[in-house]
């Protein structure tokens, strides 16, 4: 694939990196393909070679590319991607059509992990963690009515789950909160956000909040699992 299909003129190395990363995430190149040369990218987007190298450094650090002097730049396969790199989450979030395989993989991870995390949160949550959860839940409730507030609702949804990870008070689990945003943002493009499904989702979230507040580990696990069953339906993974 060539660069011609990409929109011209991103401003700055960061936006160039995002543009190229999203093209890679969208599958515009096959694993093993040779990526365009620095000078070609530089000319195509009318930016300096420096900017290109900075952008490609990010993509390489994220496991998207493999660069070697002399050979060139090769595209790596999905299994090599650093899905837990915060930059990757950022790039995935802005992508309208995320690879269904990725959406399913992230969902499967969350389905197996979040009950455990919610259980830990029930054991370790402090007052401020409860407050974060309550605040996020209140935001979800208040933005549940109107259709035009679905983006706002998704943000509160992300905040709720991120607060759960943070409440586990574990540095590693907390890092994984980055994955939530692309996963939840995918909901916007795949679900109808009908009123009854939103009510159902709210009810299940409320039970997670209650379980954590009551320090009830097993209830938190069960409730988190129920939230994710709802998510699976909204993502179209199960009907």
């Amino acid at each position: 694939m060539t660069l011609d299909a990409l929109p011209p003129h991103p401003g700055g190395a960061e936006q160039l990196a995002r543009l190229l990363a999203q093209a890679l995430l969208a599958g515009h190149w096959q694993p093993g393909d040779v990526f365009p040369r620095e000078l070609d990218i530089s000319k195509h987007f009318a930016v300096s070679r420096n900017q290109v190298r900075n952008a490609l450094t990010s993509l390489t650090a994220a496991g998207l590319l493999d660069r070697t002097a002399g050979r060139g730049t090769l595209v790596r396969e999905m299994g090599d991607w650093h899905l837990l790199d915060p930059l990757m989450s950022e790039w995935m979030t802005g992508l309208v059509n995320l690879d269904p395989q990725l959406v399913r993989a992230i969902y499967a991870f969350r389905f197996s992990a979040e009950p455990v995390v919610a259980g830990l949160a029930a054991q370790a949550a402090q007052a401020e963690d409860i407050e974060r959860l309550e605040s996020a839940f209140a935001g979800m409730e208040s933005s549940a009515g109107s259709v035009e507030a679905r983006a706002e609702h998704a943000e509160y949804d992300v905040a709720f789950h991120d607060a759960t990870y943070r409440a586990s008070h574990n540095l590693v689990w907390r890092q994984m909160g980055h994955l939530l945003r692309p996963s939840i943002m995918a909901l916007i493009h795949r679900s109808q956000h009908r009123t009854d499904t939103l009510d159902d989702s709210l009810t299940r979230h409320r039970q997670v909040l209650e379980a954590i507040r009551n320090r009830d580990t097993s209830s938190a696990e069960i409730a988190a699992r129920e939230v994710l069953r709802r998510t699976a339906i909204d993502l179209g993974i199960v009907s």
Copy 2:
């Protein structure tokens, strides 16, 4: 803190990055401290400013530093570190005295996560996954006898757990295998590797292998938890 305490003359930007990263991981600077300037680092190690910038780019991407034009380079707190970045795992692995707080955090994560992962592995493992597990286990057995083979034993240990994560056949869980190496390598410096503890460890690992081979989800979960109880003792987290 200054650079004077660091050994001179690393060769190449990668080694410079490792050196600086390990100094940061070891807590030689406090969060919020200003990190040495590019030119000072450049002069101290007698490398070009380019090399320094490349190294600092890595550390920044890993969440260790925060750089701003005009202000300088600031040291970030542990909660901001990208513990799941493969580079971080590499840097941590070579560190003799990893921060006990980190060791405990990673252990707590593994204790909550690995049973789930082992359960998934019991469900999803293919023939080649079983082979990898068996091969790693055989290596653990053969290197269990001698004291001087403890490094080799640790490598097989890492391979065993990594094979478990891979056997889950989930792209996200698989990425987390990177964390295993620093966690398991910490065992070398903290346990005596006595013969009876090694035998006990082997027995528990064998049960994980058997459970996965038998596709027995709940047994795999239980067995993985038992392995980690043994690990906790060896890490000195519990007695």
